[in-house]
Amino acid sequence: MRSIISFILLLIIAWGVALSVEKIPFGESKTRIGDYYIERGREETGASNIVTSVVVNYRGFDTLGEVTVLFVAVIGLSAVLATRRKQKKGAVEPASLVLYTGCRFLFPLILLFGAYIFIHGHLTPGGGFQGGAIVASAFLLVYMGCRGRRISRTRSKVVESFGGLVFLVVGLIGLTLGGHYFLFNFLPKGEINTLFSAGFIPIIYIAIGCKVGSELGGIIDRLLEDSE
């Protein structure tokens, strides 16, 4: 009986959502800011990926907020897990040879792919967050497949703090050097569609990629260590 009632409620909610979505004119521009980004984004920021020019340049301050949210989440998780009492570690059952070798073989390739995604964030789709998540999934593969292997926690902390510092310092340099907003692009734009272009966007994205990768990898590391 309860499931029937909840199903009917669900249908009503779906009907309401469908009614409201039906009125939205999809595919038409409702604000002019999107057209502005598409028309002027390339020449103003030097990044051929419009999404990147919005995320790092026009909306750089929001990105700082996103990075901070992730950072706070990691701090909260470590605080919650740190209060648990350490228990004795049982013997870890090793993975089979095929899995172990496969993980060891795939790990550098996935790491390289993640690094490629955040280094080429201004040229191809993707960026710091996506690349960082892929790097973290490479760490996840190692944690799962090669049991007992751990990435050094101090090193991951150093990388994380380095990423955050670079982001903040570059943004503040832009603020002082003539710009009147955070993350003013003060480096030369360079030739469009080349790796060394778009001013500081690659630098920021490398910093975000390092930070997100080490943070998400750190979350997996803490949770796995706690569960073993």
């Binding site: 999404v51 995604i117 789709p125 993707g126 960026g127 967050f129 996506q130 998540a133 892929i134 973290a136 999934s137 996840l140 799962m144 998400l216 979350i219 997996i220 949770l223 796995l224 706690d226 569960s227």
Partner: protein, 79 residues
Amino acid sequence: MILIVGLLVLLMLVAAIAALLFKDLINAVIASCMVSLIAAILFYFLQAPDVAMAEASIGAALVSAIFIIAIRRTKRYEE
């Protein structure tokens, strides 16, 4: 094209309902991972490869891993 998208959406719905109905929570996690993967493919079809990448790596890989770690600490079967 529209046929493929329709098929994918149907598959996504089936996977989402399966994730709700499975009593074995590992199976439910795999079904929800499938939902994320199909969502990533749909994002790609909608010309949002950035979002597709984030959805595939976070939604399919990391979130499933975190769920599985949590299930290992608790119970595997739903009553």
